[in-house]
């Protein structure tokens, strides 16, 4: 049995950076002697991720790459995990560094008895003049796991670290980076023992309750497309 399933797509310029950030975690786990399934080099695709998750039902799942409200995206730009296979996240801890996925996928995973879903409810942003700082901030919560911290402590300490880094970026004159870091800090959530917050919009809340998140996500996509016309 493996302890960690890691997918880190490398599909465009943005993922060139996130791929390397995740490599630091892979190296760390290898040095710790942990048993891992690492999926780099075009292997971060649905088939491989599903196989890894099915064969290792309690392994922690890590995704560093693109995401959307209802999905995590693989090397082929197709979902590796979405609302159709979210059951695979039940009973395991999930650590994601991806845009928006905590919004619907994270909530659904939590409702399907995922142990904890670490992720972001907004678009993750970063700048290339502060790559080390973004790597430190976005990986920080994972390393706290090895210091025996609970999920709430990890979120609180990670946000405190992000605030500390934001202040350093301001002092260094990196204002675009500082506002990206602040945005990421506010978007970070971890759904574990405590229930995710209900939808802020009352209409969304009713739709989610009556028809589920799949319908809500579809309606949101239609709305977003119409707003672009």
């Amino acid at each position: 049995m493996l302890n960690y399933i890691i997918d880190r797509p490398l599909m465009d310029e943005a993922t060139q950076y996130t791929f390397q950030w995740c490599k630091e975690i892979v190296d760390f786990l290898n040095n710790q002697g942990e048993s891992i399934l690492d999926l780099p080099n075009n292997n971060a695709v649905r088939e491989n991720v599903e196989k890894g998750l099915k064969e290792n039902p309690s392994a922690l799942y890590i995704h560093y790459g693109h995401g959307d409200q209802d999905r995590l995206v693989g090397d082929d730009a197709l979902p590796v995990v979405d609302l159709n296979n979210v059951d695979l996240l039940s009973g395991r801890e999930v650590y994601t560094m991806a845009c928006l996925s905590a919004r619907v996928l994270g909530v659904t995973a939590y409702n399907k008895k995922c142990v904890a879903f670490w992720g972001y409810v907004e678009v993750v942003s970063f700048t290339t003049d502060a790559l080390e700082e973004f790597k430190e901030a976005l990986n920080y919560g994972f390393y706290l796991r090895f210091k025996g911290k609970g999920f709430k402590e990890r979120v609180d300490e990670t946000k405190a670290k992000m605030q500390e880094i934001t202040n350093k970026l301001i002092a260094d004159g990196k204002f675009m980076a500082a506002s990206c870091m602040d945005s990421n800090m506010n978007a970070l959530v971890c759904y574990d023992g405590g229930a995710p917050p209900p939808e802020a919009c009352p209409v969304s809340r009713v739709i989610a309750r009556l028809f589920g998140y799949r319908v809500l996500t579809t309606l949101r996509k239609i709305r977003d497309r119409l707003s672009l016309l």
Binding site: T128, I170, A178
Partner: protein, 82 residues
């Protein structure tokens, strides 16, 4: 200058200093120079780009109003007396 104009001016000054650095919003990336140009023509941007840029500006504006340190540094870069 109002707060938003100061934020935009400071970002544009930063972009002048580091034109080739990039800012990524998820999969979408701009050089600082490109981003500064987007700030110039915010009203005329296509909706999806406008939404992205506006969201970053809103966040920066909120920081500008709430974080004294950020405000002071941004005003200094924008050449506005504190």
């Amino acid at each position: 200058m109002n707060d938003l104009e100061i934020v935009i001016r400071a970002f544009q000054m930063e972009a002048q200093q580091k034109p080739n650095e990039k800012i990524f919003f998820g999969k979408i990336g701009y050089t600082f120079e490109e981003f500064a140009k987007l700030l110039n023509g915010l009203k005329h941007l296509p909706r999806n780009e406008k939404k992205l840029v506006q969201s970053h500006l809103d966040r920066a504006l909120k920081m500008f109003r709430e974080n004294e340190n950020y405000r002071r540094h941004m005003m200094s870069l924008a050449g506005v007396p504190c």
